[in-house]
Amino acid sequence: MSGRVLVGVKRVIDYAVKIRVKPDNSSVVTDGVKHSMNPFCEIAVEEAVKLKEKKLIKEVVAVSCGPQQAQETIRTALAMGADRGIHVEVTGKDYETLGPLQVSKIMAALAKKEDAQLVILGKQAIDDDCNQTGQMTAALLDWPQGTFASEVSFDGDKIKVVREIDGGLETIKIKTPAVVTADLRLNTPRYATLPNIMKAKKKKIANVKPADLGVDLTSRLEVVRVDEPPQRQAGVKVETVDDLVGKLKEAGTV
């Protein structure tokens, strides 16, 4: 058991920013827009660092896929307590079409290369809301998965995961190595303090290309169009129930 945890962190548009669609409807505006670490990835990093502080694991490695700026996100993870980082360089068209399938291939390859005992990811990213990367990574590795985790604990050589599901909470036990995805209530991420950011400057970030990992980045998806949500239409007041039924029939919903 290597005692090594791989944490994936994604650089996304900050949650507080007002999203705008590009005039050509090809994608959203990202130039000059504030970006930060995906909130669920922050929770994932926090969990990994907590495990290290409890001495249940030995090393936390933060991974991010993307252009140069992805390094900022890795640095935030380092400031939170990760030991080192791996920046998988993906730029240009490849970055535009980068999705869960490609990232999970990369994570799987790295998990094998780094001999990871555990891979922790955020349950989904707030920009695409795919909720697929964790699951795909586990499948590619043929590892067990504990998704939507609101509690993670070590139980001998197994991991106990309490999952948030529609019906309530489900507790499972999975063997390691495994993939876990973090849900909102797993923990409250710590603030990166300025002295820690300074210390993080000394931590290493390795640079890796997808080709080095033998990963093919071709996308099987094509984004046809991006639109803003439709403007909310005004409602109509009706006098009687019959009027209401009549209007519903008109609109074709009844």
């Binding site: 000059g32 930060s36 900022e72 640095r75 935030t76 400031a79 603030y191 990166a192 303090t193 300025l194 002295p195 950011i197 300074m198 993080a200 400057k201």
Partner: protein, 658 residues
């Protein structure tokens, strides 16, 4: 080509003169002789002003100038406009004082600080409790916010001035009470140790100060000594054995006074004058620890604003201060104090630009969503003017803050006039902007929940502390006059050898003649500012030329008595402030246009609008300074004030007769 009679000042008759731009060789001497006779009256009075400069300004300046034949050229833009010169070294191009690593590091520091202030710090709570909440203080300490500029090897973050400014901007936009708690601690509280401490003092005190384990306070003000800092009465008497000082006195309105462990205290130390042998009291600076014993403090003052910041009286009763705690040289305390204040001023402009940004966002949010008379109120001219003026004031302040911090980081040593200007401008601009924000928000702005009235109350003190704006205006004007006076002194020296300096003298006469006629003297910013801003550049240069002329006229007229002409000094300072503001936005907008950043055209508009109005203000003030009406007005103002003081209040009888 004859050199016609030269008229020098408005006091003499004003003849329109035509002066050839170039004097040919043979006639040069003749022209110079004529020039000498006329110019003699010119320079002598002003030179006199320099020679007789009182100690408060620069006691050694006069003696130093006598030894040099040519004064060392100052790189400060503000100092040079008083000479009617445009010195662009520190203002163009707009400074970029961070290397890649520093910029990268700063980019990483900004988000956590923002997040902390958005999520953890509760400014309304701090204001209501009249203290910074305990968990917030703890969080700030963990965050490393107490030692931003302490070197990394002593436990701080080692930030440059520009990096510090950027972070302080965030604090300013959220909570000025916390801003003052942090600023009183590091910007002035222990800055003395950073600037003047010896290695032993730095090692002993800085680590705990950086972590926030101990807090610091700056102790200068006393009940009878505010602006007149040189008159402090706290004493520190050296023991006969020479190993310690006994400190006695009381200080008032000390920020962090009730919380601090370490105090930078200014006291009068009796010293023997080496020349005359008599005992004189000179100010010295000390590092005083509360643990020395005899240090007590009063209850927290109840204030209008920055309530979260602790302000208290601090009493020193026979405190034994070890001799090693002397900060800087014995008798050099005044210099220490002034340097500390000067060094921290840019921080205020940075913090206040953050405050303005926050407040403008609130105003915009309201104006964009509030509908009255069928339209959103931001479509109405009255609101539009407010929004535009708020935006321009913020743009100028922000540009000043980062220009000065950039200059300081690049090693500039002469920025005291600019720093003073930025403090005056920032504090008044922030007050106006917040006031207008409340106005835009209407009744809502007046309500506590909106959060703007608190900012307004917090801001009032910024025009008062760290050097009242009134004193700083005098400082700006007098510093500038000294610089202009030095130049004229140099001219007087040249006059002693007119033939040898004929070219110089002829050039000077030409320049003044042209200025008098309203012609350009050849000064230009063309080639320095972006071509799209050429018009604004020319407006600025014209204003500088006339400003230099009126400064000279005033020096000639009043000589050393200029220091008493406060009505005049205030208006001169206002001119200097406007001119610096103009050049600062010209520089920043030029850079934006050159870099082609998205907001470049918008910034061009801000810059042009500002320059047009500032130019008008400066010209109007210059005209007033020359007119006889304003002389009468000043007389009247003085008389009105005297009458009211004599009467103990308003003099005029009530309209109803009783």
């Amino acid at each position: 080509m004859l050199l016609r009679k030269v008229s020098q000042s408005s006091a003499l008759c004003g003849t329109i003169l035509r002066v050839p731009p170039v004097l040919s060789g043979g006639q040069r001497h003749a022209g110079a002789v004529v020039a000498v006779q006329n110019a003699r009256m010119y320079a002598s009075q002003a030179a006199q002003a320099v020679l007789d400069k009182p100690a408060a300004i620069g006691s050694d300046a006069a003696t130093k100038v006598e030894k040099k034949t040519v004064a060392v050229e100052s790189k400060s833009f503000a100092a040079n406009i008083f000479k009617g010169q445009v010195q662009t070294a520190q203002v163009f191009p707009y400074p970029s004082a961070m290397n890649e690593e520093q910029e990268q590091f700063l980019r990483e520091l900004v988000p956590p600080v923002c997040k902390f202030f958005e999520d953890v710090n509760d400014p309304a709570k701090n204001d209501a409790l009249e203290k910074v909440e305990d968990h917030t203080m703890e969080g700030l300490k963990e965050m490393g916010a107490f030692g931003l500029q302490v070197p990394a090897d002593l436990g701080g973050l080692g930030l440059s001035n520009t990096q510090y400014a950027r972070l302080v901007e965030i604090v300013g936009s959220h909570d000025l009470g916390v801003g003052i708690t942090l600023g009183a601690h590091q910007s002035i509280g222990f800055k003395g140790i950073l600037l003047f401490g010896n290695p032993a003092q730095k090692e002993k005190y800085l680590p705990k100060l950086a972590s926030g384990e101990t807090l610091a306070a700056f102790c200068l003000t006393e009940p009878a000594s505010g602006s007149d800092a040189a008159s402090i009465k706290t004493t520190a008497v050296l023991s006969p054995c020479g190993t310690y000082y006994t400190l006695n006195g009381s200080k008032i309105w000390i920020s962090n006074g009730g919380l601090s462990e370490i105090f930078t205290v200014f006291a009068k130390t009796p010293m023997k004058d080496p020349k005359t042998g008599e005992m004189k009291d000179k100010i010295s600076a000390f590092i005083v620890e509360r643990s020395f014993g005899g240090v007590t403090h009063g209850p927290p003052e109840k204030k209008m604003g920055i309530k979260a910041s602790n302000t208290a009286e601090v009493y020193f009763d026979n405190v034994r201060v070890p001799a090693e705690c002397l900060l800087g040289e014995m008798g050099g305390g005044f210099k220490v104090a002034m340097n500390i204040l000067n060094n921290g001023r840019f921080g205020m402009a940075a913090a206040l630009s953050g405050t303005m940004k926050g407040v403008i966002t609130k105003a915009v949010d309201h104006a964009a969503n509030r509908t009255q008379f069928g339209s959103k109120i931001h479509t109405y001219g009255a609101i539009q003017e407010k929004m535009a003026r708020m935006t321009m004031l913020h743009y100028v302040t922000e540009s000043m803050a980062y220009m000065i911090s950039g200059n300081m980081d690049s090693g500039a040593t002469e920025f005291q006039i600019e720093a003073a200007i930025s403090k005056i401008f920032a504090s008044e601009a922030a007050w106006t902007v917040t006031d207008e924000c409340i106005q835009v928000m209407g009744g809502m702005g007046f309500m506590k929940d909106a959060g703007v009235e608190r900012v307004m109350r917090d801001l009032r003190i910024f025009r008062i502390f760290e050097g009242t704006n009134d004193i700083l205006r005098l400082f700006v004007a007098l510093n500038g006059f000294q610089s202009a006076g030095n130049q004229l002194k140099g001219l007087q020296k040249a006059l002693k050898n007119p033939i040898g300096n004929a070219g110089l003298l002829a050039g000077e006469i030409t320049k003044r003649a042209k200025r008098k006629a309203g012609l350009s003297t050849g000064l230009t910013l063309q080639g320095t500012v972006h071509p799209e801003l050429a018009q604004s550049g020319e407006l600025t240069v014209k204003a500088i030329e006339q400003f230099g002329a009126v400064v000279e006229d005033l020096l000639m007229k009043h000589g050393k008595k200029i220091i008493d002409e406060q009505f005049v000094l205030k208006r001169v300072a206002d001119g200097a402030i406007d001119l610096y503001a103009m050049v600062v936005v010209l520089s920043r907008a030029s850079r934006s246009l050159s870099q082609g950043i998205p907001s470049a055209q918008h910034e061009k508009m801000l810059c042009e609008t500002w320059c047009v109005e500032a130019h008008d203000r400066v010209m109007r003030d210059i005209k007033a300074l020359r007119s006889s009406e304003s002389r009468q007005v000043f007389k009247n103002l003085r008389a009105i004030s005297t009458a009211v003081v004599e009467n103990g209040g308003v003099v005029s009888t009530h309209p109803l007769g009783f």
